[in-house]
């Protein structure tokens, strides 16, 4: 199975809209599956009118642990508090209390405790599952529960889930989160191709370069899509000349179009909402296929 990841650094540039419609284009002649790896705010399936109540499967997931203090065994030595690199432990009424928003579940406190008073407990930090679209392919996705950590590990689970639900798929399309931190790194590693979506704004350009750093770090073939390119044609040209200088192809430039918002509001992929986009996304698909085998 081949894999393509879509990322951008900056949020709201059109990652999910592009991922969704590209998936539809690919699904015409390939067996594909999608993985929504924006587990903080998973909404790729919403573009297909699939809220979680319509999922084939949606169940709790635990990828995290949290430290628990046994107050009877605790000798109040404070070693755990001094050891915690994340400042997640503090004395409260003479007992070490865990701040569950800060605990990384690393287990250093458990190892240092001379009284065996600390243990690690699994916690359910997300929901994971999948939905089937009207186009025949499935979307694996997960939602991190508010206030929980461990999004990187949840991302890995979503990718696994994608592979699991479509065992003989030709292609997996991965929609990454905004940013460049741990969940994005977990989405990018090990892909065959990366699409970096950007927009012609100083923020879009700056964040695109960061996304590119991550992709380069893993040595993945990549191309750029400039979305809303006509918002500032001069800036688009700046991005194009940057790409040329760095030997990166511009897969396509998509004009600003309020239809994107309308399609999103009606929860239909733009490729099916507006006939003009069939050609656009087929072109994008073909270009990527050529680039991937180069």
């Amino acid at each position: 199975m081949k894999s393509i990841v879509i990322l951008s650094g900056k949020g709201g540039v059109g990652k999910s809209s592009i991922a969704g419609s590209l998936a539809v284009a690919f699904s015409k002649d390939k067996k594909i599956v999608c993985a929504d790896c924006d587990v903080d705010a998973s909404n790729l399936s919403l573009l297909f009118s699939l809220s979680t109540d319509k999922y084939v499967e949606w169940k709790p997931l635990s990828t995290n642990q949290i430290a628990i203090v046994d107050e009877d065994k605790c000798i109040r030595c404070g070693k755990c508090i001094n050891t915690c690199y994340f400042n997640a432990l503090k004395f409260k009424e003479n007992i070490p209390k865990i701040n569950k928003f800060g605990c990384e579940g690393c287990g250093a406190c458990e190892l240092i405790c001379p009284a065996n008073a600390i243990s690690l407990q699994d916690i359910e930090n997300a929901y994971i599952g999948y939905a089937k679209t009207n186009y025949g392919f499935s979307i694996a996705s997960a939602q991190l529960l508010p206030g929980n950590s461990g999004s990187g590990k949840v991302v890995s689970e979503v990718r696994k889930k994608g592979n699991e639900i479509s065992k003989n798929a030709d292609l997996i399309i991965i929609d990454a989160a905004a940013g460049i931190g741990c969940p994005v790194i977990a989405s990018v590693t090990g892909n065959d191709y990366a699409i970096i979506v950007t927009e012609p704004t100083p923020s879009g350009f700056s964040d695109m370069k960061k996304a590119l750093d991550i992709v380069n770090h893993f040595g993945i073939k990549r191309g750029i899509i400039i979305n809303k390119f006509d918002l500032n044609i001069k800036y688009s040209e700046k991005i194009e000349s940057f790409a040329k200088k760095n030997n990166i192809i511009i897969i396509d430039k998509i004009p600003f179009d309020k239809s994107f918002v309308k399609a999103m509001t009606e929860m239909i992929p733009i490729i099916d909402y507006d006939i003009r986009y069939t050609k656009i996304f087929n072109n994008i698909k073909e270009k990527i296929q050529i680039e991937m085998i180069k």
Binding site: G9, A41, C106, G107, S151, G181, S203, S206
Partner: protein, 276 residues
Amino acid sequence: MVEIIAITGGKGGTGKSTVATALAYELSKDNKVLLVDADVDCPNDHLILNIKRNHLKIIEQRIPDFDLDKCTKGGACGKVCKTNAIVSIQGKNPIFMQNQCNGCGACEIICPSRAISWASKDIGKIYSGKKDNLDFLSGELKTNQPISEFIVNHLNEEIEKNKEKYDYIIIDTAAGTHCPVIAALENADKVLAVTEPTPLGAHDLEIILQLLDKLKKKGGIILNRSDIGVKKIIESLASKYKTKIIFEIPYSKEIVDSYSKGNPITITDITFVVNK
């Protein structure tokens, strides 16, 4: 007394930074204001306000330093490492992937031969800057470093040290709801969630509102591009979570143009949100 207001929203691209910069700049005309860009993965506020950032400090994180002469190659360090930064096979030297290390220290504690001491790696920077009367702080994670919230924690320390100097501190958070966002919300007196009236905006807003309930933070909703989409879905969320849409920003070609040209953005009456 300083008031700390965090601007967040869940979904990316809803206008968090636009609102944060416009609000902070407008308030700074009559008040002492600090704007903190806590979207450390992709900080953009300095680009929007055209601020030249000055380097304030380098943020380091500790990483283990293996003394291979002392190492007895038992493999214990790899077994306790939850982030898979250490791969150790019995009888072989441990392999360390520093990018994955969060500095927790479990390996040092477990090592039977005291072969691990501490070194450090750069994970990012904090910058300061100024736009007219507005003071500015910005954190930036180095690419390929995973732990964004360490940088946010350092920004929080700076806020704590300097907060008495200000009437308002505006914190601009990252998209999403994970660790760096939670860290950025920690000190806020009030949290404003910027969203757009689309099903995706609503979905992500709901997660943020659940998070705010958990963190026991109060605030309100700012509805951006309020005239494109379906406002009803945001209104029903607001009433479900007993909060309010306190401000609406209609779609504006001027805002989009200013944004794409890198010009500061003015939003009429934005300071209204402070007293709401």
